[in-house]
Subunit: 292 residues, 2 copies
């Protein structure tokens, strides 16, 4: 995995440099608005969506340059969703990436606006991309729909609705996994395809969905078994909030078995891609090894 770590770091650094440049250019009044946007953007994190997008763009020959602003917009959307998810009226999380959540620093009102601001800014970036041609518009629209009321927001709504719902079943869990988590990860791997004539479109779409499940399953397990220092967020929150999780539906051990099965599903899809996809094989292992 040493090679993987090196490549991951290269994509991460390239993305963070682009993000830093973006943050430097932000110049909103009042200052508290500017600060609250930058605070959450710079909390760090693994940046798995932008890294995945840059990697897939290289693997299928789209090129990183073409997707870098899409990666930026996607990370802004992801960050907005975390700020709103953490609000007292939503999941009520005081910590994010080892630091106080946005609303703990700036207050809930400002955190609502920070989330709105990041979402809106993501689309301002994407409208600029639209001038480059129809495939850029299609890619922007794809991200928008993955984030929207038939995508991530539907998942957040279902997640909220089924808190403490003892009748909720596997079908509902899959809906939440698919919408809340997998949609944005799917956007990350599909955008490079849309910007490259639809190359491997269906494979990458299927891969995004499976990677989303894999990620959310490991997340659910880590909420039970992880530790704060490594995760940077409060643990045991799912049970406390009565969340519908993989652990709740399958039990902890079956949940771990499913991680292996879905990991294998990912591998089979990656087998279908030509070119050097070794980064993606390693990426699957990387997600799985979060479980330690």
């Amino acid at each position: 995995m040493a090679e993987f770590d090196k490549i991951y770091a290269r994509y991460l650094n390239a993305f963070n440099a682009h993000l830093d440049e973006f943050c430097t250019g932000l110049n909103c009044t009042p200052g508290i608005l500017n600060d609250s946007l930058i605070y959450s953007l710079k909390l760090g994190g693994k940046r798995i969506r932008p890294v995945l997008m840059l990697a897939v763009a290289d693997i299928i020959g789209t090129g990183s340059d073409k997707v870098i602003n899409f990666a930026l917009a996607l990370e802004l959307i992801h960050t907005y969703s975390l700020i709103h998810d953490d609000l007292p009226d939503m999941d009520n999380d005081d910590f994010r990436r080892g630091k106080p959540s946005n609303h703990k620093v700036f207050g809930a009102g400002n955190a609502i606006l920070a989330g709105d601001g990041l979402l809106n800014t993501a689309y301002s970036i994407l409208f600029d991309e639209c001038f480059k041609g129809n495939e850029f518009i299609s890619a922007a629209k794809y991200i928008c729909d993955c984030a929207g009321v038939y995508g991530m927001i539907a998942g957040q709504s279902a997640d909220l609705l089924h808190e403490n719902d003892s009748t909720a079943d596997e079908e509902t869990l899959q809906f939440i996994y698919d919408k809340k988590t997998a949609k944005l990860i799917t956007a990350a791997v599909v955008v490079p395809s849309i910007l490259n004539g639809g190359k491997y479109y269906s494979e990458l779409k299927a891969l995004g969905k499976k990677l989303g499940y894999l990620f959310q399953l490991t997340d659910d397990i880590l909420d039970v078994e992880g530790n704060f220092d490594k995760l940077g967020k409060s643990l045991g929150k799912d049970e406390e909030e009565g969340k519908l999780t993989g652990v709740k539906v399958y039990g902890l051990n079956n949940c771990k078995l499913r991680v292996d099965i879905i990991g294998d599903d990912c591998i089979k899809i990656i087998d279908g891609l030509e070119g050097d996809a070794s980064f993606l094989y390693d990426f699957v292992s990387y997600i799985k090894t979060r479980l330690g």
Copy 2:
């Protein structure tokens, strides 16, 4: 004004028919998400932004058909901003258009998602428009920037920041008026210009700003002097929340004088437009007569 009322009703009905069609097509899961979006969209209201956009599109020869989806997106953005503004963590308003606010019906968590959902859906509509050509992309981007962190959101942030701020002055008030209120109204009158080769661009931009001031000044006065039945929202909220308003900065009487002055400024700008702009003259009177 009988002729004005007829024309206003025609634009309003055309817009509401388009909005109804849009709402009928919405089909989100879970149902509570769908219901919460439609609830706020169908609370009614004067729809001044879409009506203005349709009217200006006719006056300068852009045509209503070309702007109808922009009007829809703008109304979705306006509606999202009201839902988030009304939240307990923001202005804490229990009523909107004579009915319980979104969060009073669906809870604050769902109201946050409803706002996010409307904002995102507005951009999904606008990305579809982008395929029609570069001027459509420019118009979409214009709306996005008016709504964003250098536009409406900056105004909301300043509005929140200067609650109970006894040192805030006229400059700050003008910033809030300009960003929080005038930006979306400016978008309404400028989009028809962008979609028509920039016709009367600077005049319409100046008009939008003045109309925004006029609207917010009358709003501030009505919060002191209006009545619930006519306004459909709680009164006296500004003082209760320590808001920075025109009434606070200028005093009630001077505020009314300024309404006349800014109304005259609007008229002068409208004088510079060729074609039949009688609707716009009457629109200025219409806003002023809200004061009764």
